[in-house]
Each structure stands twice: as structure tokens, then as C-alpha cells.
Amino acid sequence: MGKVKDSKLTILTLAPPVQTRREFLKSSAVGGSALLLSSLFIRKVSAQEASRPRYAMILVDYNKCTGCRTCETVCSAFNNKIKIGEEELPGLGNPYLANIRVQAFNPDVDIPVACLMCRDNPCIEACPVEPDPKTGRKALYRDEKTLTIKNDKNRCIGCQSCADACRAKRVGAIIPNPQTGNPERMCTLCDGDPQCVKYCPYGALSYVVGQIDGRHYGLSPEKIAERLTELWYYYQPAR
């Protein structure tokens, strides 16, 4: 399963398939990629949010994950580069430093955990640092360019409120640095080429870049069909 680029997020609000694993494997083998979505996508999106631009994240297909942790090592290697002479190279992939982390359970279930790129930003909401008057950013903020959550180390007070909020309200992706308390392990999306997606031997991870489509959001099927027909077929209904 490769990248799903520039798909409209309205498409992604489909309910996750309710199937047994074997049926799922069969159908996905025939029908190509099928995505399991976190429930996050299913909540209502406000009109204001709908007008926001782009959105990107790593999606997990739990059916395909084998718990091998290759994602941890390639994530860590890319995001913890080492410099040899002038050349910057991937690190050795210490899983401890990875932004994606696989939790193994008994009976055998493996859950890769990475930043969910929440639209409502509970981590940023929890940050007590006053927004910078110029940029409007708190110490924890969303970088509009990469669409990822970042920490301004110069302004961060190491209070760990963001990590607490993430743990309490979402998946606990943010882990404070044990020395400084600065938030770490937020997904960087690897400059637009997420390594976990690229190297997962089992195609369990997908990179989704989307846009909440303001033109079609909340419209009736008839209305959407009419607009798409016009867009795709240059078709003008007879008057």
C-alpha cells in the first residue's frame, strides 16, 4: 500500500469496514488499499475547520501490522541523523528514539502509536505559554508548512502539560525529554516522505495527505454528484 496523495478528506469519513480478518484480507487483496481509520475522523467537522487547508498523517492498518518494529528503526534513523564529515546520514535506528512506537499485547495484538495530528490540538490547547504576538504560536504549535506539531525549545517551560493532555485525551504519542521536560516524539512526517510508510515490509502504514473539501462538505449526495459531474465531465445539464 503506497501513499494516498491529495485525496479529499470527505472520502475518508467512510465508516471503517466491519469484517472478519480473513474477509478483510480477501477484499483488500482484490480491491486494493483499504484504510482503517481512527475514530478521530468520524467526528463532526465544523464549518470553520472545513475551510482550513491541508492535512497529513500516518494511518495504521492494524490487520496488516505484524509487530516487527521496522517502523521504529527507520523513523529513529531518519529523525536522528548523524554527521560523518560533511555528509548527513541516517542513524542506526535506536527504537528508543523513535516517534512511532509499537505496543505489543497478549493475546497477540500490536498497536503502532504515532502522533494523530489531531485537528483540535489537545496538546497545543494545554500549552500554558502565551502565544507570541507576532506568530501567534505557543511553545507548542502546528507548523503550517509541514503540518506537524513542533516545539519551540526556547520558549518551552518543560511543564509537560502537552504530554499529559495527549496521554489523557489521545494516544500518549508525546513523551517529555527525561532531562528537560520538553515534548518529544511528535511525528515529523519525514519531510513529506515518511520512512515508516516507505519501509513497512507489510504495507500496514499509509501516508495520507488530504484537504477538507469546503466545496462539498455537508452537501447532499445529489448536490455533490451534480458538482462532480460538472467538474469531471465538463457536463452542462440541458436547461
Binding site: 480478518r21 480473513r22 490487520n63 505484524t66 509487530g67 516487527c68 518494529r69 521496522t70 528503526t73 527507520v74 534513523a77 548523524i82 560523518i84 555528509e87 546520514l89 541516517p90 542506526l92 535506528g93 535506536n94 527504537p95 528508543y96 512506537r101 505496543q103 505489543a104 499485547f105 497478549n106 493475546p107 497477540d108 495484538v109 500490536d110 519501509y199 515490509p201 507489510y202
Partner: protein, 606 residues
């Protein structure tokens, strides 16, 4: 101390008697000569044993968990750790030492090997005996012995969950024994993730003898590599090599279970206590049946692209609701075909129980098969079996017997010592169908049709071993592979020379093809020297009479039987090729010297 690339250079040593915890430097010379895993573990065993005849269950017998230079690096399938110790389960035909036994090593995948390295160690040596049950907690530099009385007696599936709960972090990787290890069943295993195991050769028995219930490890480091640039580029090549490869697809879909049917068709399966090589009902327990009825998920060890482990659920019959791995080739053959059990759901229950009690799947299936045959032939009666009516294919009775073995209850006490001891007790001609070499039970690959397999089992240093290799070259290759931390199933996914190049980039030493094979040969000869010193001779490299005297009666290989003269001739050639004495099997002086094993010469009387 010289800094070693590819290694932390630290071995963690724990004396359970005094509670003393030491971080000892790894000898650079040993690391170069014996690499890691099985080889380095064996060198440490040699250093610790000092003299032959040590009782394997005495506190002095070290229990060694070794990693290899690939461990902890994201090399595909480099997930294996090797547990090395002196076997509590093997014995020579004759020896002047009462407690003579072979070396033992058991290989385990999953996440334990890598995690030992993440914690900053190349290996762990455990000696002594704790005064009461403990478990070992390793969190990077922090190492503690913790009280485990409340866990003693707990079966592995429940314990796996309880221990993780107590540790409070899923990043801890754990391995442990079940009741079988606690009760000193000679073929008890060390379990990991409640289904993976360092299964063979009684490592769990030695762990139990030390009152050590578990080891839990968590770490934050990676081992250093010598040539980072080269390593990264070779790693990329290795990863790409597995993508879409036929080997990858086949392992992923069926794992080893694909062989349950193909081996049966080839007449090479252990069926009815090795009486036959073909199981007419193999289809009922094979990979295709399991895929349809049982399996839910494919699971992989650390950074492995093959995912040969299958976990599943029983959905019908009396064991509905049971969740466990399997069947794979060995578990499906030893507890299925070998016992004529073709009820897939019942087989799952047997596999689960053997893991849950912490027994070795292979030896357990072999022991049960032996008793079924002895009972059918009237050598033993129901009273011998504490009233059990132990018939071929009977799942509930098999399950009762498994419990008896693990608890050493009634007949289980004798059965816990394996088929050699059972045959000694039962007598008559039962030793003809006691399927063991050096006291270690054979695995799920039958022998009648294959002299290669015969040599593989007969010469294996840990006692019968199906992974040993059928000629010196193959054996040396396997031994070397077991030193690196790589899984042998994945070897074929690397282009020729790639593993050597990876090893060179990690250690900074040039590894030629010759070095690679010679190192395997060195390890194999060191093992042999330890065995020889204990009293093992050529006559111990034998096979049960069954394979020479009782031709297969069913299947496409009907009539197949080994020819004893031919076998002995091949064995003669084997010793010649090894430069071992044809009569005694003693390793040759010149060979040992050329391998840099001078230190064993005096000890084996050269």
C-alpha cells in the same frame, strides 16, 4: 581496554546466590574468534566449566544469554538470541563422570536478543542459585533481583501478562519459565511472548534450578558500528532484497506450516512415533486448513520481513475460545502427526498447554508418542500410566499426560526425564523405538528416506537436532549463523556475501568467505571438545534401530529404510572430513591447532 566495534564490550554477570551484579568486559580476542551468540556463549561455557562431569543442575552451571553483532541493529531478521548452558537432558552411553552431558544451546527469536543490546550488554551470564524465587529486572544500567514468590507456579500465558503489568511498561521484553522449568522437567523451555521459546535442550530446567522465574529487559542504546556509511548502504540493499522475493511471500503466508503436508508427501514426517513418514490426515492439520480455520494474524520478530509466526483462535469444539500460535511445522508434527492427532482444534489445545506449562514442544511430542507406542504394544499397561488409556490420536488423554509431565505427577515424573530414561525403565526392546540421540529427542523430520538427515541428527553436538546440517560444511555454516544473531530462515534472503559484508561494516574487521566458514568450524569443534571431554565417543553418534530395521509401510516412500552399512560409511567420511578420529571421534590435534583451539588440547588428552 581496547574498544570493540560492533559490541558494547560489556557482559552482565549475575550471581544469584550472593545477589552480586557485575559488568565485565568482553574479551576482544574471544569476540573476534567466537563472534557472539552460540559461539561466544560456548567459549564462556568452556571457561566456566573448568572440568568435566559438572552436574548441570548445580549452581555452578552457567546459564548464558548471548547476542550477536547483528543484534539490536535493524538488519532484517536479526532477532535471535542464543541460550547456552550444559545440558540437563543428555548423557553418553559410557562415561567415567556421573553427571556427564553435552553442551546445550537454544535459539530464540522475538525481541529478547535486540533488547539485551539496547540495554547496553552483549550477553548475560547467570550463575548460582537464589535462595527463593526471583526475577531479574534490567533497565539499562539499573539491574535488580526482585522477589518472584507470588509468581512461582504460574503458567506462562498468565505470567506473561502479570509480569508486564507489574513492570508497568510494555517496552520491557520478558522471558520466563513455566511450572515445567520450576519442577525441573529435563526438557523444560524458556518462553518469550507466551509462545516463542528457547525450546530445546532443557534451558528452562537449568533456569528453574536457579530459582530464576524470569528476566525482564528494557534499554535505550544501540551498539556501535565501525563503518556507518557502508552499513547504511548494505542495510538498504538487504531490505530491498526481501521485497517481493518468493521466499518472503511463502514464509509470510504459511510459515513453516507449509511443510506439514509437503513433508508428509515426501515421507519425511515424524508419524506414529517415527514408525511412518507419511500422515494420511496431514491435510487436516496443515497450513491450508489452519489458514481457513485458525489463523488470525501473521507476526514477525524484530525487524523481520517474513512474519512466519501465526496466531489464531479456536472457534469450534470443546476448546472454543482458546487463543494461541500454531500449528507450525514442529508443533503440528510432534503433537499432531507423531501422535496421529488430526483434530486441528484439539491439536491447538495441546500446543497451547505445552507452551503454557513451559515444556519443549518437540521433546514432549516425542515422549508422548513413545508412551503411546509402548502402551499399544503392551509393554506398559494403564496402571503404569496412572490409569490413562493412552491411545493414538486421543487429545484429552494427551492433554492429561502433558500436565502430568510438567507437574512430574505419577508417570510424569519418569516421563519428565525423556524417552531414553523411559526405555531404560520399560526395558524389553523399547529402546529400538526410543527416538533420541545422546538422550535428546529427535524433531519432526523423519529419517528413513534421508541419510543426510541421519548424519544431521547423529552428529549434532546438543544431541539430536534437525537444524544441525547434514555435512560439515552445512554444520559450520549453521554454527556461524547462530553466532551473528540472524535467523536461519532468513539467510536465503541475502545475496551471496552480503552477510559477511554487513558483519565487516559492523565490526570493522574484514570477513572473507574462508573466515566465515572457519569460525563456524571453530565453534563446532569447541562444542565437540567439550562433549568429548565429558565422555561422548563415536558410539554416541548413533541412531535408533527403528530407522534401519523397520521400513515405512505407507505413503509414496513405502519400503524406505536406512542401510546401516551405508550410514556407517557416510559417518566414516564425515569424521575424515572433520579431521576427527574415525574410531573415537576425537577432534584431531592439527585441526584444533589450525582453528586456534589450543586451549582444549590438554583437557581432551591430545
Amino acid at each position: 581496554m581496547e574498544k570493540l566495534s560492533g559490541y558494547h564490550g560489556v557482559i552482565l554477570e549475575i550471581d544469584l546466590a550472593s545477589g552480586k551484579i557485575d559488568k565485565k568486559p568482553l574479551s576482544p580476542e574471544d569476540a573476534r574468534k567466537f563472534v557472539g551468540g552460540r559461539g561466544l556463549g560456548m567459549k564462556i561455557l568452556w571457561d566456566r566449566l573448568k572440568k568435566p562431569g559438572l552436574n548441570p543442575l548445580s549452581p555452578e552451571n552457567p546459564l548464558i544469554f548471548m547476542t550477536g553483532p547483528f543484534s539490536g541493529l535493524p538488519v532484517p531478521s536479526a532477532s535471535r538470541a542464543c541460550v547456552v548452558t550444559k545440558s540437563p537432558h543428555t548423557s553418553p552411553l559410557k562415561s567415567k563422570y556421573k553427571s556427564a552431558s553435552t553442551i546445550s544451546y537454544a535459539n530464540v527469536g522475538g525481541f529478547i536478543g535486540p533488547e539485551i543490546r539496547f540495554a547496553g550488554y552483549d550477553g548475560i551470564i547467570i550463575s548460582g542459585k537464589a535462595s527463593s524465587p526471583v526475577y531479574l529486572m534490567i533497565d539499562d544500567d539499573r539491574v535488580e533481583l526482585r522477589e518472584a514468590k507470588k509468581f512461582w507456579g504460574m503458567k506462562t500465558d498468565e505470567f506473561d501478562r502479570k509480569l508486564t503489568e507489574e513492570l508497568g511498561d510494555r517496552r520491557f521484553k520478558t522471558c520466563y519459565i513455566g511450572p515445567a522449568g520450576e519442577n525441573l522437567v529435563e526438557y523444560a523451555a524458556i518462553l518469550h511472548t507466551a509462545a516463542r521459546a528457547a525450546g530445546r535442550g532443557g534451558t528452562g530446567c537449568v533456569m528453574g534450578s536457579k530459582n530464576l522465574k524470569a528476566i525482564a529487559i528494557r534499554g535505550t542504546k544501540v551498539p556501535p558500528v565501525a563503518d556507518h556509511q557502508r552499513f547504511i548502504s548494505l542495510l538498504e540493499e538487504a531490505r530491498q532484497g526481501f521485497k517481493g522475493a518468493a521466499l518472503t511471500e511463502s514464509w509470510r503466508r504459511y510459515g513453516t506450516a507449509s511443510s506439514i503436508v509437503t513433508s508428509s508427501d515426501a515421507g519425511t514426517q515424524a508419524v506414529k512415533n517415527y514408525r511412518e513418514g507419511t500422515f494420511p490426515e496431514a491435510d487436516n492439520i496443515g497450513g491450508i486448513a489452519a489458514e481457513q480455520k485458525i489463523w488470525v494474524r501473521d507476526l514477525a520478530c524484530f525487524c523481520c520481513p517474513l512474519a512466519c509466526k501465526k496466531s489464531g483462535a479456536v472457534r469450534s469444539g470443546p476448546y472454543t475460545g482458546l487463543v494461541h500460535d500454531g500449528p507450525e511445522y514442529e508443533t503440528g508434527t510432534m503433537l499432531g502427526a507423531n501422535l496421529l492427532i488430526s483434530d486441528l482444534e484439539g491439536l491447538m489445545k495441546a500446543i497451547y498447554d505445552v507452551d503454557d506449562y513451559g515444556l519443549d514442544q518437540i521433546s514432549t511430542g516425542n515422549v508422548v508418542g513413545f508412551l503411546m507406542e509402548a502402551y499399544e504394544k503392551g509393554y506398559i499397561d494403564s496402571a503404569f500410566l496412572d490409569g490413562l488409556d493412552l491411545r493414538w490420536g486421543d487429545v484429552p488423554t494427551t492433554i492429561q499426560l502433558i500436565r502430568k509431565i510438567a507437574m512430574r505427577d505419577g508417570v510424569g515424573d519418569l516421563a519428565s526425564k525423556g524417552v531414553r530414561k523411559l526405555a531404560e525403565k520399560i526395558g524389553q526392546d523399547s529402546q529400538k523405538f526410543a527416538i533420541e540421540v545422546k538422550g535428546h529427542e529427535l524433531a519432526g523430520w523423519n529419517v528413513h528416506v534421508s541419510t543426510g538427515r541421519a548424519v544431521c541428527y547423529a552428529t549434532a553436538n546438543r544431541g539430536a537436532c534437525h537444524l544441525n546440517g547434514s555435512n560439515p560444511r552445512a554444520q559450520n555454516n549453521t554454527a556461524m549463523n547462530d553466532c551473528t544473531g540472524l535467523c536461519m530462515f532468513a539467510q536465503g534472503g541475502f545475496r551471496a556475501g552480503l552477510l559477511r559484508e554487513l558483519l565487516s561494516s559492523i565490526t570493522g574487521e574484514v570477513w572473507t568467505e574462508e573466515d566465515y566458514e572457519k569460525t563456524g568450524e571453530r565453534v563446532y569443534n569447541l562444542e565437540k571438545a567439550i562433549n568429548y571431554r565429558e565422555g561422548f565417543r563415536r558410539e554416541d553418534d548413533r541412531l535408533p534401530d527403528r530407522f534401519f530395521e523397520e521400513p515405512l509401510t505407507v505413503g509414496p516412500k513405502k519400503g524406505a529404510v536406512l542401510n546401516r552399512d551405508e550410514f556407517l560409511k557416510i559417518m566414516d567420511n564425515y569424521y575424515k572430513e572433520r579431521s576427527w578420529d574415525i574410531k573415537t571421534s576425537k577432534p584431531g590435534l592439527e585441526k584444533l591447532k589450525s582453528l586456534g583451539l589450543e586451549f582444549v588440547l590438554k583437557e581432551i588428552g591430545s
